[in-house]
Subunit: 204 residues, 2 copies
Amino acid sequence: SLEMDLCYRSTISIYKSILEQFNPALENLVYLGNNYLRAFHALSKAAEVYFKAIEKIGEQALQSSTSHVLGEILMQMSDTQRLLSSDLEVVAQTFHVDLLQHMEKNTKMDVQFITESQKQYELEYQRRATNLDKCMAELWRMERVRDKNVREMKENVMRLRSEMQAFVSESQREAELEEKRRYRFLAEKHQMLYNTLLQFYSRV
Amino acid sequence: SLEMDLCYRSTISIYKSILEQFNPALENLVYLGNNYLRAFHALSKAAEVYFKAIEKIGEQALQSSTSHVLGEILMQMSDTQRLLSSDLEVVAQTFHVDLLQHMEKNTKMDVQFITESQKQYELEYQRRATNLDKCMAELWRMERVRDKNVREMKENVMRLRSEMQAFVSESQREAELEEKRRYRFLAEKHQMLYNTLLQFYSRV
């Protein structure tokens, strides 16, 4: 029927969208995230070198006859920066382990999982459709020869059709759930990272 | 006298320390600060690319049948990041204009200024020392011939010596002031930058 056909197309297109859009986008995100981390570590390093130079000037000021207190202030700034930097390092670590590594693992497993789900669905759909067609042909033959078992066969066709309708609806719902779970995973993981960042900023 | 000689050495060593320690250290700091800025801009760029990818996934989720709200959340995250990033850009701009460019300008002018101050001080010290020596020699000659103007000459020597004492003390104080002003400039400028950062964090 038209309704079942629409269900079938929609289910297949969800599997396709997870495989061809979502997972490649997630893979790309892992790649960009690793670039992001590298840039973060480069910035940490640059900050460390800069404030080590400030600290050295602070030490010189400490030894001068005129600027002892200013030397202490400069060295304090360097210490503060070191603390800030090690706090931010924790956020970066969260980003790396909880988000990037998790996304990378998921993407790799998901390609296989979704490919197999789709294949299984296509086979099962085909099997049920073939079975239904066969019964309908049988029914048509019976009607032509006025077979007395025609009512029984009609009920059989009705049952198969409604079972198949339930099957394609359920399959579509499952595919939709898989899609939603993936977007939710992405949103939740980023929300957690954002909360870690907020905690960090509120402690400054 | 020994006291004047100590004053002279101390004054010269302050000029030397500004020229040979402070200014090269400041030049190095400008160099490291520019590296720091470059790393910051690279991080900004990486963040922008990462959250543009998140935004794109958000748009796909918006178009899906299952994950409209999750798509909105992902796109909101991308917007928030853009705002944070443009706030941080202001801090980086402060760092660049108020601190790095100012330090660079100061260093360049200061080398000439301190070199000339030191040269002028050495010449003036030499002139006064020579004059004092001449008067002392004259006094010694007068004493040998029992000259009647010996008291007057003694007073002259006393006056020159005390003037020179005042001169070397004042010169040392000025050199110390120059040194202190430089350390204070460095500390104040970094304190201002830190305050800008704190304002930013407290707004998050």
